[in-house]
Subunit: 591 residues, 2 copies
């Protein structure tokens, strides 16, 4: 059924291309300072470059990201001076190539369930790392199949028969000539629907030995005699610390998703401004696609959403690079909510853009279609989106319980609005009211407040019936989903409003206002929740739907300027975004 | 950005594989009688084989479909005895290879706008076929790039300076040695996100000449002296006749979409019954994915929908093979509604199945992910889904106007319910009422009736404001979409109910009832329209949402049996549907 005899050759070529590109960037000194230069500005610079790489070639960005942010990040943030001295500079110079072996065949989202074991041998002062069964094979390890010389291994730490939980170790897996080391077995994960320029691999460890010093020991250490010491007593918190390198991954993914949506929309909008179909007058000229109200309804709300989400992802990135321990919970919640929401929205956007481009959307050279396969992975890697949104609701619920128990005010996560009185929505909504930021925030805050209360009540009901806390949360998944969405949409609106306020009065600010109102109106129009929970009346929802159509016609003249403002270089768009008839001409020599 | 130097080699290999498979099937006599054996049974047999081919290899099915159903169908159903005698048997034996040149670079859905010209030369008794400009190049022509020897050409027929509209002609484009004939230029459409085993091509005609007899002349003909004669006076009806070969295409696409969803769901459900993640008790075993209520909510409604849609697509197929002129309009409306709805639903299903399989869903060998790219084309080929649904609403509106004007009853399209009194929905809904087919049909009929009325009113309002009929319809797109969905969902329910009634009482019938109720409940839960238009109260919608959860738990024990009932051979599933740990074992030799 897989008809491709050359699949192996083709993957090899793609993987080689990725390495060539990394080599080129390394020689140009692009990565200099990436792990050694301190400060938020240096961090923002490297993230900006990673974003450009992602628009150019997703495989390249992922392979670079795994090496610097997962391997390098783990060494830097979970390790201590001995690890930094030994590995950071070589990593920066790509003298060694790192990967990150967390996921196993049998365990993805539930990292705590991994089965790889690292047993401490106090006689030799070494950890013995072993893959005890087939489901424990490390899986999807980016860079492992062909190139990586070193890896972070996540394993259950066993000392004297006691399991201290998941810890991270450094292991060398290949020598400098790229020969796999003894007692390590590596296999390819095989052909995937996208990211074939990344050599995802599987790793089995057959009782390999690594020195005690290879434990990344920032939060916990093993003394030579086998005594286990940790500065974090709570095993849950200790475990969470080991997952921290994934946070930047989530931030990067969310930002990247927004860029890809922008490319997709730039292509689809430009095509809709050059492609004509049907005429509504007899023998009249055919109409431009974007002059059809229905085509506007397909693309322009997506345009508004991506602008709002762009603001949110920039906010998230800035929050991350200025991180402090105090805001680590907020970063976790925001990055989870935005990673899930922005990646799903990206897939929705690409699908609509592909269909809006008709058959041309299927041509690989036109990018939109192939992006779907390349970026599909985003919804499940570095945290399954469904699981992440459940974590958001759980965190909000925990916050709710804490404020109740300690009779404190809400602080952080933008939940301060819950300290004030419940907002009141006007009975009858005019266009002016609908477009006012006060009404929009009031409505979104009202929804979030009510859903948080309802969620807490539903969980309490299950607890009262004798269910465990975990089961009670599990049974309340419907309202948890609504709550997480309400939180995310309110957050995105709130962040955008701050950006909008900072814009000088004038036509730019006016367009930002249109985009914001479009965002809020389609959030209402596309969700049953405002009617379901009674935040809006039927009449008001009807008014909202009409407003969406009006906003479409008001945004229509700005569509080209908006996709232009994304600043995507022409070379990153595609033939379809320009003179596609000329590009398809016989004389173009491209046939 | 396209990193694949071997793309051309790989497409060539895939295209060659498709031809090899066709050759194999031809030698085995599989296609014998496909164009010459009469009757519905013969037709059903060949459709059944085409469906199997589609599950095995989409490219193979499409290439076979283009040759037999588009080329062969056009010769058979638009041509007359002289064409049948000359081409049908050679087509059946694959002695000649046919393609179907309708779409142009500049014209897809709007076939009437094509620019290729066929000018009659009465001096020689030939048509001169020409591509007057680059946007007129034939595009996406399946089979054209490498193999086709003959094509149907759709062109504007010019006689003595007068344009008689779009007609279909037969032209030879390659000789028997596969050399392109003089004055014909052919180029490849390039790499696509799927269907790369089909050699889609572009064709330019430089004043080639075909004999007068090559006009497919069932509905219209040109006499030797250039006189144009047609048995259909109305140009709209004549044009519609030329599009009729596409109808079977739509039927095939809808049926195929259902099969692919079944394969995807069989894989995802079986995986969810073997994959565990997280435990809800401390140190307890991890739970099967399908025991999570949220995972049930993701997959089981899709399972219910595919069962319902399977019924509908079988109904459609049987209706098609027993077609008569009287039901041709019904066939057009049903096939448009079902093609659009079933193909979109297939993409939704595949996306959810892919994510429900986590990273494994991305591996090519596990099929689910790659299906997304292979079948994405279905939503825009042989009629863009959005355009098709607009046509459905337009047809319903026309029907409405006719009954009003002629004071007739509704007949056909299942609209008979509009002749009776408006159904009344009980004020308070219990589980028993929700699951009764009477309530379910009443609710869907009520919605359809009301939306048809609202649509007619909105169009009338625009007409009263002086808009043209076309513009009035265009401006009413929001309600048109809701109406088309209401029509389709009611149709699917109604068809399924007939199948369900024919099942003997017992456990099978009980499961069919569960699937039907699940279908109706999720249709309500996922759409704002029942609340928006006031067909259900907030309380009732809340009850429906609870019922979805209950139905999930009731269907859960039957999930494996239901996917088993699809009868997909094991070889058509994937490693993920079986012992995927064993399939990934080192010892499997597959690494």
């Amino acid at each position: 059924m897989d008809a491709s005899p050359t699949a192996a050759a083709r993957r090899a070529a793609a993987i080689a291309a990725t390495m060539r590109r990394i080599g080129y960037l390394t020689r140009r000194g692009v990565f200099r300072g990436w792990l050694t230069e301190p400060g938020p500005d240096a961090e923002l610079r490297k993230l900006a470059l990673l974003e450009c790489l992602g628009v150019y070639d997703h495989s390249l960005a992922i392979k670079v990201g795994v090496h610097f942010f997962l391997w390098g990040g783990a060494v830097k943030f979970l390790g201590t001076k001995r690890h930094h001295d030994k590995w950071l500079l070589d990593t920066e110079n790509y003298v060694i190539k790192g990967c990150f072996a967390m996921t196993e065949l049998g365990h993805g989202s539930n990292v705590r369930g991994i089965e790889t074991v690292a047993t401490y041998d106090s006689k030799t002062g070494e950890f013995v790392i072993n893959t005890p069964c087939e489901s424990a094979q490390k899986y999807w390890i980016g860079g492992a199949a062909n190139h990586a010389t070193h890896t972070i291994v996540f394993a259950q730490l066993h000392i004297n028969g006691r399991n201290e939980g998941v810890h991270a170790f450094i292991a060398q897996i290949r020598d400098q000539d790229e020969n796999v080391l003894p007692n390590i077995h590596i296999a390819d994960c095989g052909h995937k629907i996208g990211l074939n320029g990344v050599d995802n691999g599987r790793i089995w460890f057959n009782n390999i030995r690594v020195p005690r010093e290879n434990l990344l020991n920032l939060v916990a250490d093993v003394l030579p005699d086998g005594k286990y010491v940790s500065m974090i007593d709570n095993p849950d918190q200790r475990f969470a610390a080991f997952l921290s390198p994934l946070t930047l991954g989530r931030v990067n993914i969310a930002v990247n998703a927004v860029y890809i949506s922008k490319v997709g929309l730039a292509i689809a909008v430009r095509y809709a401004l050059s492609r004509r179909a049907f005429s509504i007058t007899p023998d009249g000229p055919e109409m431009l696609l974007l002059d059809y109200p229905s085509h506007q309804r397909r693309l322009l709300p997506l345009l508004a959403k991506v602008c709002m989400m762009s603001s949110a992802s920039n906010f998230m990135k800035n929050m991350y690079v200025k991180r402090t321990p105090e805001i680590s919970k907020a970063i976790h919640v925001y990055s989870s909510a935005l990673k899930a929401t922005l990646t799903w929205q990206n897939m929705t956007t690409l699908q609509e853009c592909r269909e809006a481009c008709g058959g041309q959307g299927l041509k690989t050279e036109n990018r939109v279609g192939i992006f779907k396969a390349e970026f599909d992975v985003q919804s499940t890697f570095e945290g399954d989106n469904n699981v992440l949104l459940q974590q958001v609701s759980k965190a909000l619920y925990a916050e709710f319980l804490t404020t109740q128990r300690k009779k404190k005010s809400f602080k952080g996560l933008g939940l301060e609005h819950l300290n004030g009185p419940c907002p009141v929505i006007p009975h009858s909504l005019t266009s002016d009211i609908l477009r006012s930021s006060k009404f929009q925030m009031d409505l979104f805050c009202l929804r979030e407040r009510d859903l948080l209360k309802q969620f807490a009540e539903e969980v309490a009901r299950h607890l009262a019936q004798g269910e465990s806390r975990e089961k009670a949360l599990m049974l309340s998944y419907q309202i948890a989903e609504d709550l997480a969405r309400a939180f995310t949409e309110r957050t995105i609106l709130q962040i955008f409003l701050e950006d909008e306020m900072n814009a000088p009065a004038g036509s730019l600010k006016d367009v930002l206002g249109l985009l914001r109102s479009m965002y809020v109106m389609v959030c209402i129009d596309e969700s049953a929740s405002f009617l379901r929970y009674g935040y809006l009346s039927r009449n008001n929802v009807t008014t909202v739907r009409k407003e969406v159509m009006i906003l479409c016609s008001e945004l229509r003249p700005h569509a080209l300027a908006i996709v232009g403002s994304f600043g995507i270089p022409d070379a990153f768009l595609s033939p379809l975004a320009f003179d596609w008839i000329e590009a398809n001409a016989r004389s173009s020599g491209r046939e």
